[in-house]
Subunit: 593 residues, 2 copies
Amino acid sequence: MTAAEKIAALRDLMKTEKIGAYYIPSADPHLSEYLPEDAKRRAWLSGFTGSMGELVVGLKKAGIWTDGRYFYQAELQLPGSGIDLQKLGVTGTPTITQWVASQLKSGEALGIDPTLMSISAAAKLETELKPHGIKVKSVAKNLIDRIWADQPEPSLAPLEVHPTRFAGETVASKLKRVRAAMAAVGAQAHVIGALDAIAWLLNIRSQDIKCTPVAVSYVVVTPKACTLYVDGRKVTGPVLKHLGKLATIMEYREVGNGLRDLARSKPRVWLDAGTTNRWIQNKLKGCELHLAPTPIMAMKAVKNAKQMDGFRAAHVRDGVAMVKFLKWLGEAVPKGGVTEMSSAARLREFRAEAKEFKDISFDTISGYAGNGSIIHYSVDEESDTKLKPRGLYLIDSGGQYPDGTTDITRTVALGKPAKLMKDCFTRVLTGTIDCTMTPFPAGTTGRRIEMFARRNLWLAGIDYAHGTGHGVGQYLGVHEGPHSLKDLDTPPVVEGNLFSIEPGCYENGKFGIRCENLAFVVKDEKFSNDERTWLRFDTITLCPFDRELIETKLMTTDQLAWLNAYHKQVFKELSPHLDKAHVSWLRKATRAL
Amino acid sequence: MTAAEKIAALRDLMKTEKIGAYYIPSADPHLSEYLPEDAKRRAWLSGFTGSMGELVVGLKKAGIWTDGRYFYQAELQLPGSGIDLQKLGVTGTPTITQWVASQLKSGEALGIDPTLMSISAAAKLETELKPHGIKVKSVAKNLIDRIWADQPEPSLAPLEVHPTRFAGETVASKLKRVRAAMAAVGAQAHVIGALDAIAWLLNIRSQDIKCTPVAVSYVVVTPKACTLYVDGRKVTGPVLKHLGKLATIMEYREVGNGLRDLARSKPRVWLDAGTTNRWIQNKLKGCELHLAPTPIMAMKAVKNAKQMDGFRAAHVRDGVAMVKFLKWLGEAVPKGGVTEMSSAARLREFRAEAKEFKDISFDTISGYAGNGSIIHYSVDEESDTKLKPRGLYLIDSGGQYPDGTTDITRTVALGKPAKLMKDCFTRVLTGTIDCTMTPFPAGTTGRRIEMFARRNLWLAGIDYAHGTGHGVGQYLGVHEGPHSLKDLDTPPVVEGNLFSIEPGCYENGKFGIRCENLAFVVKDEKFSNDERTWLRFDTITLCPFDRELIETKLMTTDQLAWLNAYHKQVFKELSPHLDKAHVSWLRKATRAL
């Protein structure tokens, strides 16, 4: 079936359901960023595989809303589908509501699947469409599922225990903290839908979503009980023993009944409107709702000392794999036969040499030359390009280890780089350096800190259409909140947060550059005093930046000193784990500039 | 009467009025930043003369809430008054509401003067005190006025016409734009209380508030009419001719009756909840209110080409005065006899040599040595300090000219500066330079742009407890919104905005450093393209920075190039207006580093 045929079939169902448009978000019932295979409805229907994109199909037209990271990719994948690309953040782009209002008449309805829309998103949609007389109608069985003949079955990956030696905190302690937060706002129950929050709270993991070791589940916490709703076939003996009396396990499909039972006593229930779906809310009719972000996210975002140790160990392993990869790449490309896909596969193999390696932490972005300018490029058989001994190659990848998750981007010159490439690379690298080396007073928000990463590019009239950094989970999601280094209203950066720092520069169709390290937020002991706490970044990613791309004339003495000290540290920490040939390569790659 | 005696008298009145606490804000009925003399109730009662400070007097305790700019000053002025200093922005400081809740019992009342509190502030107070069972009670006649025997009479300064050759836009055109904005939100009336908004809209000025050439007045705009409520004794022939049929003039004291008449037809009324007082709102009972910032502020914040020309001309005049002053200062201080007050007076005289000079634009901050570390230091007979030929001297001043308002800070070494002083000065100066020289994409907010001014200080663990910059009116308030370079939720910076850029560094009791220029936001022609507009700052302040305080080793090549080009421009633009001796001085002061 082509995208156009699928949309035609969908439109037939829409007419039966008496809806003028149908909303197909990139979502599962847990509002996950990355989706289980059976939830990839938008990608299946439209052919657009970017990780972000909201599709709305009307009876005549259809539109997909995505952001700057994916404009180029969407322009390649959408033709023929009959779906218009709607560029978020670009002047003149209608909002989804404006578009729906232009397609539907007053009295008509927009159909949604209530399990695939957060409480806040559903409420916003209703509020915005109301003035136009357009209703939001919950359609009971998902319309895509009715036409998706070969839709995958839900995952049955077993539950795993995330041991306290990595987590640094017991489930009992975490439940105690969550219950204290509930008591503080007078909540008698907290229904949790976010899978990474559940994994953190119960120190469990699973493999239901590729690259993100979570278990599809719900959790309900009350002052006395904790219920985990999960497919019984996933439950193993060690997990039963691990949870003991701390949590009761119920079947995933029973959550609706469980919530109806809960609602009978009309408790005050804490729901995170951003990560809990509308269907859950509907089941709690009659309860007083405390709508606020779950306290778990902010707790999860502060790493304890044990977790920091784990992350550092994981990054030594990951750095070793990166060094092996970079040495191999430099030798293999001139010989020919290396492609974006084979290169990414080789990097995975290097990572897998570590016995602790579990999985990659997201689909590797392996972009050669012009493909590197597609910010979140996802290489496939069709786009796969051969790496030649010239131009730039961008590789953004990460690993899942039981003690930590990694996320690293390096940009490599495969031949003698042009002046423009060196200039751009150096502006990006000094952005990473400036952002990393500038201490900041406690209370500073990420949208302010990330300016330091942009400045050297802005001086040349260059900006990047993405944030500077995101949080990273421990053997969990490679993106986690609530903190960020983005122009968003996120809470101040605090001690124990872990961030990616990843400015970039993209020359459409020519090359892409990104320099990404992960760094913990630690107390700056030198500057902190009784009156004020100062914080600073402490980099944990260990891998050299390509010396061939560095134009030292564009760097200040301080930036150069930072880089040389960083490279020295990389050599010191990685060389004990490398053989002679790799130590020799690393010595050259990290020598002072 | 001492502060303690005044407070005792106030407490007697509070008992009669049956209120447990009385709120004395720094406010007039127009929520002006700077107050007419008769409205300076808080300063009269407490003795604390900082421009920002909220006083609440309970039956036993009293507290004054002020921000980081004034901690030091308050600590000097409050002792003996019985008023506790409450430091805003410092952990552990109770909010006013928390403090009131700790002083009053449920059922008791906090008294306010409804003309002195904005709609939003009054609503916030009520909402926050409600859970404590504390009421907010409007007290009809201000309690301070009842005990303030020698309270000044309201100003009778005449109205002046602000000619179109400076304003660059007629009153008719401005009224048309405001009415279009009203129509867009379906407002049948717009009641305006902010004095600078009124002055801008009607192209009028007056001298009711020191340094801020506004007229105490209200304006009501409807689709067909515009009524100016102002004391009839202030109205002159030229103003009557200027307004013609565009506006009807009514007596200031009639505004209450006017609003009652307006309310009869139950129109939808636009009120700016931040700059309109609660008393106005009360007069409009029964009307549907559109509570939103007045559109005038954003219009006023965008300067047209004629206004820009005027500002530039005013800055040449102001720069000439500053050069005369700096030359005089360097020669006079070693001879002895110069004090903070006499120095400020001398600068005023130099400004007054220009025939266009109208007034200073705010009380000059003239701070020698330790006094310079008081961020908004206001020198008086008691604190007046002699300038010696050593240490640092900070002078923050401005002038009012009919074509522009100026605001400039320079920090001068009166002898050979210590290494710490040079280091700190250079970090502040490079903050001003970095903030000025970095272009930014349209849509960037001030809280992000100001990071460039802080970075060089943060690298040394130094921060300043104030914003980096504010808007400036044309022959109007030296502070204007809605734009700012502060960590506030203000709208994106747009072309035509005028900003101060003024980072600082304060070593308590030792010295203060601030480097302040004004700069327009202009389109960056080099970087703008069809897809994206880039903006940049264009500095209009013309005055050298003290070369003795610059440590070039701490500067990048780009920063030094900016400074040398700036000094070259200062010389070029000012020297034609100076005599030989001053040209010679300026040549030395601006020679390349």
